[in-house]
């Protein structure tokens, strides 16, 4: 138990790898064994990540949002001669993303049960390795380690798209790979630049993110700008921000369902995670200087993505472009550089993971039944598939930002933050919301409403238990975040406030006319207990 407490992050990180290695030794033709093993370890990966937030016993320490530091830190030497360490840790920024990754990983694996019929063994092994890669990116506290995971992850994803994708999979896979690689190699240069400059200043060679987070803002402005652009390309391509998004529709469209879920749910978050973790806090001056450009690029992405969505004939492509639009909100929030913008952006990343992940699962459900993703091939599915219709509707609404569902909270918070900086930006963002409603509902309508136009669709089976099992958790989470997002904000807010303090040091000190109430840490009913009224200030009559 104590071991688990001390090394929980390593356990989380390597549980999937252990599964993958075990599966290596099982013969490839025993497909069901692999399916069970894959699901077992996917689920296990999720379960071992839960103790981060759920107490296991008397002496168990869960994540404490009140602490400013990284938690559950593991830090041992790895390559001492270059100063690289095996350092893991989570804070409010990464915790939710880690949980999202483990959850979506498990769900994605579960969703592949019947969809994957060829090369089952390799599939599950790669899924599990991918899982480790993604978790490593979020957990690493050492730049070297971070970069290793950042790139490691590309390889399994390449194979997932390339082997199990649809018609143009080769093109999509290599495009994905090369595109993201091009960005990340530039990031490598930026990382090396930081590493070297820090060593020049202090004589200490280290990749430690915590150290560099403190040191890099002290570098010369010119260098900071170069570092910003170096990091920018890696993250912007991953997000993807506007001019770098063209890999995304191809990759999402061609990937197998689980691959799309992971791509949309987790991989894209790495870009925004990078901005939040590195670009903004490390290079506050450069970020401030370029925030205008970034904001406009984000706005273009929001609107552009939404407009392009309208014209898509392929469901997956539509959803892929919707990701461009939604991630535009995330970057918009980040580069507004206000607490709300940042918090909302992080929450919206989680939201997007849940709702777009679910949308891809939904397309996967249809694809598995009909082997087509063309919108025109469907229509009127509400009749044969009522359960599916209900879930799909909820997920669509979550994605388009319906209140009570998660998307609304995220978009609202982002726009609130953006509004504070510039009202026009927020107005453009709102335009994106309107368009979002248009394309998602139109899609829903074309697929689900009307009479069944095709004979094949007449008797499509409704969701089975396994498919419910993949979708319902996501739907529940959508509602949870939509109705009671406070626990999430409690985790997200403190690190975001620290970021704002770095970028905009005077932010919380300006004219404190209204004293801020102490942030409440308890959950549940706070400001009013049942049976009491809160007294508003005396109203002037």
């Amino acid at each position: 138990m104590q071991f688990f407490q001390d090394h929980i992050l390593s356990v989380i990180l390597f549980t999937p790898t252990v599964g993958a290695i075990l599966m290596l030794f099982i013969r490839g033709d025993r497909e069901n064994v692999h399916r069970w093993m894959g699901n077992l370890f996917g689920m296990l990966g999720f379960l071992v990540s839960l103790p981060l937030v759920i107490r296991l016993g008397e002496n168990w320490n869960t994540f404490n949002p009140a602490l400013a530091d990284f938690q559950f830190v593991e830090d041992v030497e790895w390559i001492p001669s270059i100063g690289a360490r095996y350092a893991l840790g989570v804070d409010g920024i990464s915790l939710l993303l880690v949980l999202l990754t483990t959850l979506l990983g498990a769900i994605a694996i579960l969703s592949s049960w019947s969809a994957i019929t060829k090369r089952v063994k390799e599939y599950y092994i790669l899924m599990l390795l991918l899982q480790t890669g993604m978790l490593g990116v979020f957990l690493a506290l050492d730049f070297f380690l971070f970069y290793v995971f950042w790139e490691v992850m590309l390889v399994p994803m390449y194979f997932l798209i390339g082997v199990w994708g649809s018609d143009r999979r080769l093109y999509a896979a290599i495009k994905f790979f090369l595109y993201t690689l091009a960005g990340s190699v530039l990031m490598l240069l930026a990382i090396l630049g930081m590493y070297f400059t820090y060593a020049q200043q202090t004589g200490v060679y280290t990749f430690d993110i915590r150290t560099l987070l403190e040191a890099v803002p002290g570098f010369s402005p010119t260098l900071q700008q170069w570092l910003f652009w170096g990091l920018f390309f890696a993250f912007a391509i991953k997000v993807p921000m506007f001019p770098f998004h063209t890999w995304l529709p191809d990759a999402h469209t061609e990937a197998p369902t689980a691959g799309s879920v992971i791509l949309a749910g987790v991989l894209l978050k790495m870009g925004t995670y990078g901005f939040l973790r590195f670009s903004v806090p490390m290079l506050p001056d450069a970020v401030k200087e370029y925030s205008q450009i970034m904001v406009w690029v984000s706005i273009v992405a929001i609107i552009y993505g939404a407009l392009v969505c309208m014209m898509q004939k392929d469901m997956k492509k539509l959803i892929a472009y919707s990701s461009v639009s939604h991630l535009g909100f995330c970057t918009l929030g980040i580069f507004a550089l206000t607490p709300h913008g940042l918090s909302g952006s992080l929450l919206q990343q989680i939201n997007h993971g849940l709702s777009t992940g679910a949308l891809f699962l939904i397309v996967g459900v249809l694809y598995e039944r009909r082997h087509t993703r063309m919108i025109a091939d469907f229509g009127g599915l509400s009749t044969p598939m009522p359960g599916f219709a209900a879930i799909y509707l909820i997920v669509s609404l979550a994605s388009l930002g319906m209140p009570l569902l998660n998307g609304f909270i995220g978009e609202f918070t982002i726009l609130r933050g953006v509004f504070e900086v510039n009202k026009h930006w927020a107005a453009w963002g709102v335009v994106g919301i309107v368009l979002g409603a248009a394309y998602l509902l139109w899609l829903y309508q074309r697929v689900m409403f009307g009479s069944v136009t095709r004979e094949e669709n007449q008797h499509l089976p409704d969701l089975n238990l396994r498919e419910y099992a993949t979708l319902v958790p996501l739907v529940v989470l959508c509602f949870w975040i939509g109705i009671y997002p406070k626990p999430f904000f409690e985790i997200i807010d403190p690190p975001m406030h620290r970021i704002v303090n770095r970028v905009n040091p005077g932010y919380y000190l300006v004219d404190p006319v209204k004293p801020l109430p102490a942030p409440s840490t308890e959950t549940g009913i706070t400001s009013a207990t049942p049976g009491s009224v809160e007294v508003p200030p005396q109203e002037q009559r």
């Binding site: 290599i174 014209m311 609130r416 927020a426 709102v430 248009a438 006319v513 049976g531 809160e534 109203e539």
Partner: protein
């Protein structure tokens, strides 16, 4: 600071929850329930809500507001609590939106109307929807709607109101598209939702601006915050908030220019039209403007816009109502028109009159729709008035109750509509400024209203029967479960106005006194209300009353003359002014205009951008020389075949372009290599000798 709340006031949060519970039940398990259980559960839950509303209302009457200075509020928990931010005045504020429910006289009136009318419509639906497929789904949506509407009404802050706001929009979308097998129905649903989203965008920005300006979005704190921030009357920020919120209201309440979705929304089942598109949801805008009157009172320009838009909409929609043949569409335009009245009232500062009209309108318009539904039901789904007529005795209860409703809406005393409409017209007249012009518009609208309502009555119930043969022998009165609500509503249409009989007619205007505490009256803006009070015995009030009654009678008479006495005159008139007729009939071509302006342009833009993506970004930015390719026709043929075949991917081609020159140098001839070698030496030497020379 806290006083224990009496039971019903403490339980107001349950009022929306009852319908939500049954809605969830219906949507997830309804398919397995028999229809009777569905009816019991759904109607029952609304009944419980209604009972709780009445209980809360009664206990609210006993609420010692004067002593306490605040209204009962029930906060469940923090919902969106985002921490600090800067307001426009660079002060730090805490953004908090709670799951909090506020019951004050205004919301008390609203929940009574919503649950009351809703209950009646639910009962009616048992009969009306009894034979439709998806019965459970219908009731699930209806109860979801009830939940949303009640949340909207009871919310204690703008954001939670927005939840209800979006929720009703969604339910509206779902219910309009209920007959989802019909493409027109699902199109209409989508249109409603998207047009509403446009409005919602304004609402959302309004919320942001409120928070940014005032540092709070709680209704109860708006007024004090304005004071505290030292904002004066007509402050630009407040005007902006007012306008933005009003954009939201125009969407939801189908005002110019966002009204186009409402007539199309008639694709939904008739009870839906009654509940959502007449009695409750569409009035949300009026409610919201009244709810935030603390802001509007300080923003006279915004208020003026509200008034003007309201008056124009009232008139404009009435003109379109004149020529429609679909019975429900006439009612839809009528609704828009009446909503215009309500906004007109709000716009001149007579919020209470607006809410009053909202209430009475809920009664008689719900009745009109339900009765229309009953007629349609009787005629096996026929909605075209050209194919009705002479039904007066064949559907007696329906016809008589509808007649009452028509009188009410036309403003014939002492029916409900008379009092509320008259109140509005009088307040408009007396508000000064452009008030009298607006009054004129309102008065003409009253004439038109009376005319088209009785056109409807006449075409439907009187004159020659134009009912087709095969339908004719099926005509029957609706069952009691449908007619009973009609009767109840008819009674309400008659007596509903009596709670607000103005002092001028010897009444005590209970309604106004009840609502007065929620209307904020800052010193400078109290003009309209003060004026109204001063003019207590203004003889003009009586003159106007008479004028409006006369106009109503004129309208009724004209309708009778044209459609009963001189059959065929209508067509002659239509032929005489065919341009005007067509313009009206085609609803001023606004739908076409919007399609051309926005919808198609957005689609075009989408196509263009997609093409841009394909060709320019992929082809130019990423894949380098593809740009060149596009301009050389010969190669572009290749290009197309490659794309079409999907065999050769572009990247490979481009890298090939770079790759082949290097490959061609690799001739395989050893002496070529040696020559390149020598060339290398030559270059190396040249590089150095250049430096030495």
């Amino acid at each position: 600071m806290t006083t224990p709340l009496p039971y019903f006031l403490d339980s107001i949060w349950l009022i929306p929850l009852f319908p939500l519970g049954t809605a969830a039940l219906m949507l997830f398990f309804g398919r397995r329930l028999p229809n009777s259980a569905v009816s019991m559960l759904c109607v029952g839950s609304v009944l419980v809500s209604f009972v709780y509303s009445v209980g809360a209302f009664l206990q609210l009457r006993a609420w010692p507001f004067a002593a306490l200075g605040y209204w009962p509020e029930k906060v469940l928990f923090d919902w969106v609590s985002l921490g600090a931010y800067h307001t426009d005045t660079r002060q730090l504020a805490q953004f908090t939106a709670e799951w909090g429910f506020l019951l004050d006289p205004l919301s008390a009136v609203m929940i009574l109307v919503v649950t009351g009318v809703g209950l009646l419509i639910h009962i009616y639906s048992i009969g009306y929807m009894g034979h439709e497929g998806g019965y459970y789904r219908f009731f699930g949506y209806m109860n979801l709607f009830m939940f949303s509407m009640l949340t909207l009404v009871l919310a204690n802050n703008l954001l939670l109101m927005f939840v209800g706001w979006e929720g009703v929009g969604l339910c509206s979308y779902l219910l309009i598209g209920f007959y989802f097998l019909r493409k027109s129905a699902s199109d209409a649903g989508k249109k409603a939702f998207i047009v509403n989203r446009v409005g919602d965008a304004g609402f959302l920005l309004g919320i942001f601006l409120t928070a940014a300006t005032l540092g709070t979005i709680k209704f109860a704190e708006l007024g004090p915050a304005i004071q505290q921030m030292g904002l004066s009357v007509g402050a630009p920020a407040l005007t902006a908030i007012g306008l933005l919120l009003f954009v939201g209201a125009t969407g939801k309440s189908a005002q110019l220019p966002l009204y186009t979705w409402l007539p199309d929304a008639m694709e939904g089942p008739t009870p839906v039209s009654a509940l959502i598109h007449a009695a409750t949801m569409v009035t949300a805008g009026v409610y919201m403007v009244t709810r935030t009157n603390a802001i509007y009172q300080m923003a006279p320009e915004a208020l003026a816009v509200v008034a003007i838009v309201g008056a124009l909409t009232a008139f404009y929609a009435a003109t379109m109502g004149l020529v429609q043949n679909d019975i429900k569409r006439v009612l839809a335009y009528s609704t828009i028109s009446q909503l215009g009245y309500m906004f007109l009232a709000c716009g001149v500062g007579a919020y209470i009159a607006g809410i009053f009209h909202l209430m009475t309108h809920a009664f008689f318009k719900a009745l009109l729709f339900l009765a229309a539904g009953s007629v349609i039901h009787a005629l096996s789904g026929e909605q075209d008035m050209q194919k009705m007529g002479a039904l007066w005795n064949r559907v007696p209860v329906t016809a008589r109750t509808m007649f009452v409703a028509a009188l009410a809406i036309a403003g014939i005393p002492p029916l409900a509509g008379f009092f509320s409409k008259d109140e509005i017209l009088w307040k408009t007249w007396s508000s000064g400024g452009i008030g009298q012009i607006l009054w004129l518009l309102g008065a003409v609208t009253a004439l038109l209203t009376a005319f088209y309502m009785f056109r409807l009555i006449n075409l439907t119930f009187f004159g020659q029967s134009r009912v087709p043969k095969e339908v004719d022998h099926h005509v029957h009165e609706s069952p009691a479960v449908m007619t009973a609500p009609l009767v109840v509503l008819a009674v309400l249409s008659v007596v509903g106005g009596w709670v607000g009989i103005p002092a001028a007619l010897g009444g005590s205007n209970h309604f106004e006194h009840w609502l007065e505490p929620v209307i904020s009256q800052p010193a400078g803006v109290a003009r309209a209300v003060a004026l109204a009070d001063e003019a207590h015995h203004d003889p003009a009030e009586y003159v106007l009353m008479v004028v409006s009654v006369l106009l109503a009678l004129l309208g009724i008479g004209l309708a009778r003359y044209i459609y009963i006495r001189r059959e065929g005159l209508a067509d002659q008139l239509a032929a005489r002014w065919c341009g005007l007729h067509r313009l009206l009939f085609r609803k001023y071509y606004v739908d076409e205009l919007y399609d051309a302006l926005f919808v198609n342009r957005a689609k075009d833009l989408g196509t263009t951008l997609a093409a841009f993506d394909r060709h320019v970004i992929d082809g130019w930015g990423v894949d380098g020389s593809a740009w060149f390719t596009r301009f050389t026709s010969r190669v572009s043929i290749w290009w197309d075949t490659w794309i079409v075949d999907g065999l050769v991917n572009l990247t490979a081609w481009v890298v090939g372009v770079f790759s082949y020159p290097f490959r061609w140098l690799q001739t395989g001839r050893v002496q070529n290599y040696a020559l390149v070698f020598a060339l290398g030496v030559l270059i190396l030497l040249a590089y150095y000798l250049r430096g030495i020379l």
